[in-house]
Symmetry: C2
Subunit: 293 residues, 2 copies
């Protein structure tokens, strides 16, 4: 998707949050805000929001002198989610449709996000709400059927902490079919997005192959991905894309993609015809490209 | 209160909203955003948020060539609120404590605001929520007692539409005491703030004296107010201040002030120890100045 004018003030807020995560020095915070405001007139709205966010965060990290301001918050998010894991395993064991429940939990886990100004409450409340609510867009049956017939599933991760919920869903995917599953993380730290370190910390490598996409964008920007990642992307039967960043970067691309996310801003809410805070499981039809499907 | 860094992206969002209210031309929207971003490094955070907002809106109105982009929305808000008036009158007639209920409704009316990015739902839902909820900060008893002993009440209005709810409260204030009540509006249009025209449109002049404060700020900035307004301010026994803008400009000033507002942003929520969307009726003690109370 293209960047909307509404995104520009949001980038400023995100930069401020990142600066505050590193230092309490208000002069540094101000310097960051002024620098991002200074970029604004030059930002091309034809790019996707994560492409611009990548520029904004690179500049911010340079000014604050910290390439991973959410380091500690990410570790805490992984630990918090791991502590929930046994209870959620039991919820799934008792569920009438564990795969559907795992999808809902995976979307709930997407609420762990330090980028947009979005707060739903504590993770226990989020889990309770997820279990008792419906998906606002629900292409679950199609996902279930696609999984059963897939040889290769590519699962695009999003945030630290959230990846524990992804692990639960991947464990259910393994019960629901025979596919080889690859879990994708970012190449280097950006916001609270998961990297290889996070995936290893929560044991993702024990249930799926884990690869980096080769990029430091808070998204999956194909033009920045490694050849290995592109090979996996184009040979996957089903792609599961977690979070708004992956959606923003991939909704215009080809691929058999299921987008699982929580809606975090009014712009994306409008695109889905949904509300901020809604849980989405949306299938996107593969586009025809050069006569191939 | 001083301006926080969090306010700077919010000013950009507000400017965008004002531009969109006047024109669908995205080039103009972009020009406005770029201009406000360009102001950012120069903005002195020692000023109150409405003082900066005043500069931002003046620049925005100049670029869009419209000194009142919310003209139509204000008229509609007055009409919508007037249509509710008979029903709310009945609610008050049936209430055990009509003055308290009128205070709650007056705060609910403060949700009609086109400035900050704040949306609670439609006005019927807001009224229902207000009637069934408690005030998050509740200095009502002190207000009731102060009213009973007051000769002069100065009521600082905020937004169009909302002033119908203020009229209901003023009608209850007249039942609760003998005070002379003056209702204050902005001198000229700014966002959706009420001016003399709005006050006349909803019949405020039939139940109170209506005066302009002499300023086009979305607030009560005493240094910009007319001598008449300052005389009224300093001779009032009780000041009722509606909305976040009036709070932001007056919380550092002397005066026997009751702040009635709905919390509309995380910054003000933090200052009150409350949540966004909370209803506030907060008394602020008069400061000593030059040995006088």
């Amino acid at each position: 998707m293209k960047t909307y004018l509404d995104c520009l003030p949001c980038f400023m807020s995100q930069a401020l949050k990142a600066a505050r995560a590193t230092t309490g020095d208000e002069e540094v915070h101000r310097r960051v805000l002024d620098a991002v405001a200074g970029m604004t007139p030059e930002l091309p709205l034809g790019l996707t929001p994560p492409e611009i966010a990548q520029q904004v965060y690179r500049l911010t990290y340079q000014i604050i002198g910290d390439c991973d301001p959410f380091r500690k918050a990410k570790i805490e998010a992984n630990q918090m989610a791991l502590a929930l894991y046994p209870r959620l395993k039991k919820v799934l064991a008792d569920s009438q449709d564990p795969l559907l429940t795992a999808c809902k939990l995976a979307v709930a886990g997407n609420s762990i996000d330090f980028g947009p100004d979005f707060y739903l409450g504590n993770i226990d409340d989020i889990v309770e709400t997820a279990l008792s609510s419906s998906l606002a867009i629900n292409d679950y049956k199609r996902l279930r059927d696609s999984i059963a017939n897939s040889g290769r599933i590519l699962y695009l991760g999003d945030n630290a902490g959230e990846i524990v919920f992804d692990r639960l869903l991947i464990e259910e995917l393994r019960c629901a079919g025979e596919a080889e599953i690859t879990f994708v993380v970012r190449e280097s730290p950006i916001i609270n997005d998961a990297t290889i370190d996070d995936a290893l910390a929560i044991g993702m490598d024990r249930i799926a192959r884990v690869v980096s996409n080769g990029s430091d964008a808070p998204a999956t920007i194909l033009s920045q991905c490694s050849p290995e990642m592109l090979g996996l992307y184009h040979s996957a039967d089903v792609i599961i894309s977690k979070g708004q960043g992956n959606y923003e970067s991939l909704e215009g691309e080809t691929g058999n993609i299921f987008f699982l996310l929580m809606v975090k801003c009014p712009v994306v809410a409008r695109l889905f015809g949904a509300n901020v805070g809604d849980a989405i499981l949306k299938y996107k039809k593969q586009k025809m490209k050069n006569g191939r499907k």
